[in-house]
Symmetry: D2
Subunit: 341 residues, 4 copies
Amino acid sequence: MRIGVLTGGGDCPGLNAVIRGVVRKGVGLYGHSFVGFRDGWRGPLENDTMPLDIAAVRGILPRGGTILGSSRTNPFASADGPARVRETMRRTGVDALIAIGGEDTLGAAARLHAEGVPVIGVPKTIDNDLSATDYTFGFDTAVNIATEAIDRLHTTAESHHRVLVVEVMGRHAGWIALHSGMAAGANVILIPERPFDIDKVCAFVEQRFATSYAPIIVVAEGATPIAGTMMAKEGELDAFGHVRLQGISALLETEIRGRTGRETRATVLGHVQRGGTPTAFDRWLATRFGLHAVDAAHDGDFGVMVALHGTRVERVPLAEATGELKTVPEYLYEEAEVFFG
Amino acid sequence: MRIGVLTGGGDCPGLNAVIRGVVRKGVGLYGHSFVGFRDGWRGPLENDTMPLDIAAVRGILPRGGTILGSSRTNPFASADGPARVRETMRRTGVDALIAIGGEDTLGAAARLHAEGVPVIGVPKTIDNDLSATDYTFGFDTAVNIATEAIDRLHTTAESHHRVLVVEVMGRHAGWIALHSGMAAGANVILIPERPFDIDKVCAFVEQRFATSYAPIIVVAEGATPIAGTMMAKEGELDAFGHVRLQGISALLETEIRGRTGRETRATVLGHVQRGGTPTAFDRWLATRFGLHAVDAAHDGDFGVMVALHGTRVERVPLAEATGELKTVPEYLYEEAEVFFG
Amino acid sequence: MRIGVLTGGGDCPGLNAVIRGVVRKGVGLYGHSFVGFRDGWRGPLENDTMPLDIAAVRGILPRGGTILGSSRTNPFASADGPARVRETMRRTGVDALIAIGGEDTLGAAARLHAEGVPVIGVPKTIDNDLSATDYTFGFDTAVNIATEAIDRLHTTAESHHRVLVVEVMGRHAGWIALHSGMAAGANVILIPERPFDIDKVCAFVEQRFATSYAPIIVVAEGATPIAGTMMAKEGELDAFGHVRLQGISALLETEIRGRTGRETRATVLGHVQRGGTPTAFDRWLATRFGLHAVDAAHDGDFGVMVALHGTRVERVPLAEATGELKTVPEYLYEEAEVFFG
Amino acid sequence: MRIGVLTGGGDCPGLNAVIRGVVRKGVGLYGHSFVGFRDGWRGPLENDTMPLDIAAVRGILPRGGTILGSSRTNPFASADGPARVRETMRRTGVDALIAIGGEDTLGAAARLHAEGVPVIGVPKTIDNDLSATDYTFGFDTAVNIATEAIDRLHTTAESHHRVLVVEVMGRHAGWIALHSGMAAGANVILIPERPFDIDKVCAFVEQRFATSYAPIIVVAEGATPIAGTMMAKEGELDAFGHVRLQGISALLETEIRGRTGRETRATVLGHVQRGGTPTAFDRWLATRFGLHAVDAAHDGDFGVMVALHGTRVERVPLAEATGELKTVPEYLYEEAEVFFG
């Protein structure tokens, strides 16, 4: 059997561990051979390949990024995309694909499978917002990076009288904010799932100053105020006539300072959260995802995605896995609220 | 309601996070009050208490160790133990106990509950060998520490020609060895569940030298050779007439050097694995265990232990939780074997 | 002898290590006693003290922040400041002061000494911009935090096509930017000492894309463009009528995006750089500064500051130490330029 | 100009950073070309080379180990060694050598230079025991690794009643033990320069138990007891008839347990201290050493070694640099003794 592997979407610690798991078991146990497709779906669309054997995966387990490159290319962007993927597979003698990616990459995989392409999905996102799996790899790394940063802010909060705002990733789901905020003892956590009341945030700020040292606010980049309640807003034009790129933490800085008169300082961790070496958990999960993905290919069980359920890696239908975003449920946010203020 | 809290057994990152979770929710949401019992079951046996309020738990979330102290005291060691526990509870006005600990501490909790003491258990062990919960807090921290150490050995293995042996914790179960070995790309992993064949280990050593750089062997402290196959052995007397303390890694050093002629160097991480600040995952898990333990107390639902199932914290009967050690199953070890040699 | 200790200015990893060094040697070897003054110069001005003995310094070595609190209070802000300091010393039986701080705190110390107050200075700033000492503690920690962040960005730069800008501390001197930029392989480093040419920065950006993966730009918060060359600028008013707080990285984001059309993302590490546990180097340096400061007090050698010269801690006149800011010299910046582009 | 580069001796974080610094400046600024010699002096002896250009050094800055490989081969081991080195240089068109290594590698470099080979040395040892330079790269990394390990032991020492012994590297000099012991608050530090009195060590152990929590002893691998004072000793034969490999920490374990009856546990960090990514300081120092080494080659200034003096990198005669081991001076050990017990 000859299997093509590709990685799509944003950077995520653990991609290389998946690739290594796939190849080590596929070659060593099953005797399959592999082809790397470069830059996500662009690889099979344009027949851009690289060798993918035991030598190619040596030493990559602890390394961030992906040796295969990545892109956001969508094979359905042009009408002949699926045909070109099939044509590349025919030319390269590839029998099946293993696609490692998030919502978009796996959505394309699901559609390709529906059209007869034998494909297996591996879920990837640091945001942890994919349904059908307890966790995605990369998430634990991102949470630990954010947690360590917030840890460091605590000693400053103890000795300065400044409101500290930390903006973490999470455009549509607040998982990183929730986990790092709880792990590091944030005084308020703001997530996209729950539009925030700026009055309450400022009340927590003042309450915190009254009872302890300065507050630390963890905010997901996608968090938003209840409509119409904040004066600071995005949407102004910058010096080049573009819409000003101003993150939610900059808006909070302006708003909290404006309302409370308190000095407020923001930290924007940005892409620091999605690069570098994965945590042990993410390497373990990513490696196991790789092992189970190649098992599925070996079994000829296509159209599935590997997923973590408890401590077990299992297979779920690709279609089911990509239907709906997994957001933070009410009951988990309420657990965090115990520690607000 | 007035609730006593105690921590028993060995050090484990996350103990303080549990205590904080219990107190913050218990006081803040339910209006309960708390008493800290010092040094595990010794506290209630000897009525040794400390204040445990919001102020006492401030700042402890990221800190290793336990503010309550710990011991291995067993309340059933003397016949009147249970009566003394009950007497202390009466005197201090304590209605219920939350006991945080491993096999021994929780075993005692189960027996006390059977004798009518209202008690709730929180599972704790860096070894991850407690049944009824997917993971225990402290384990993820230990695995990350071991993984980082093994990561560092890889660059040395690349440039020296030495067999590197890393001994990690795990007297009865090989979870830390398995997870850190897989996460860090060990070439052989030896665990207590599977007596090892020293011939095969030496064969892997030579195979590795032949195909790549020097091998790294991860061994759980409780791993043992198949009986009678190794020349190096424990049990000699030392200069003071005590049985020589010689870990399995020292025996492997002797044996591999003796058999292959290869220079062999051991790293013994020891207690480094069970101290210091917890990872984000362990803080999250420990905090949630604390929140759910106090919920159970509030509900009057005694004789239970909180446990992680997938992403949910649930309650299981204490008796069921402590019956049997959770060891590494065959199928997981086989996943790791893919990467041996 | 009875010695008062105070810490002034911004947070800096290692403050507690100095305090511990002072007290452990002062009590243990010399038999002196100590008083802690709270919140920098506010303590002696308002006679706000705390006990400072062996017990008070237990366990603080690895902890960020300062057990004495800090402020930017200037004893010369009111005419009677020096007299009040003297009066507090008389009342508390304090014979001498050890003042740990930066430019401002030590400047006040120098003036107080000139007016007859027996005082010894310990230099502190994460910015490393104090003259007369090779390094200040806190700097190494800040550089390592920034370096680890930039390390993580590299894997993302490899797989995305985005310009990554990292803003680090350094209002007047570019030491953190220079060291972390060199240590982590930045493609451009911008520092306050050298107004930058935005055309050249954009040229490096394009050159980097042409020859390798996406560029990483490290910029000190105090870096500025050559006057009049950038369209993006600070100074607009925000929704509350305050001058908009917009860091140099936000301006660069706007400007690089506007000029090159390249997606650009900024990370602002902010206060994360000045909190948390110190590195081994900073603990070693801070501890030794403490030991040598108490030696100077014991010797009655006042009006001096302890300083690192090579591997030796020596004493220099306070006046000399605080006269001039230590900025990055031309020859060191040129070393870094070797790696630009 | 065509320059050969080699790395000799044990693994040390920062080797790759030196190589990169040499090549980036040599090619980019001076237009020189480079050849890599494999495995230390074995490379020029056996004409074993690898390409060494800008592409070869891409991405290696943060990586431990050495892309050139290493060995302990001595070019003076055979009589024709120097002639073979010269012959290789003639054949490969190499005008000069840059040799990166410790005592042995640089000693050979000094002798070769005396015999007319144009060579420049770069000092390397994690032990920091080379004269003529304030610090060697690799040392700061080793100290931080040891410090983090000891940090973690503190929380366990607080809750258990065990003597904790940590063995760190340092066969002939106690720099790592001294720095990490002071940075992490060890209660006793044992170094090779000062044979220890086991009675005093045990007295410190008991004193510590009496006044605080359990003691942590940091011991350099080369530390030795005052002759004849310990019962536990090396030198017995193991099961294979080899001299038993038993580190000083194992002997201390036996001896302290035997004398005090206290449970004692050792951690042996071993090679973990010499691998993995370098700290920011070590990358900075190694990079600068590389830049200055190629400057010296460009200047034709041979027979020198680059060295750190304060914040300056300077050149010193190779002969002077390798004459004598730099050991811990009395006054520094006395600084540490302030914190014993």
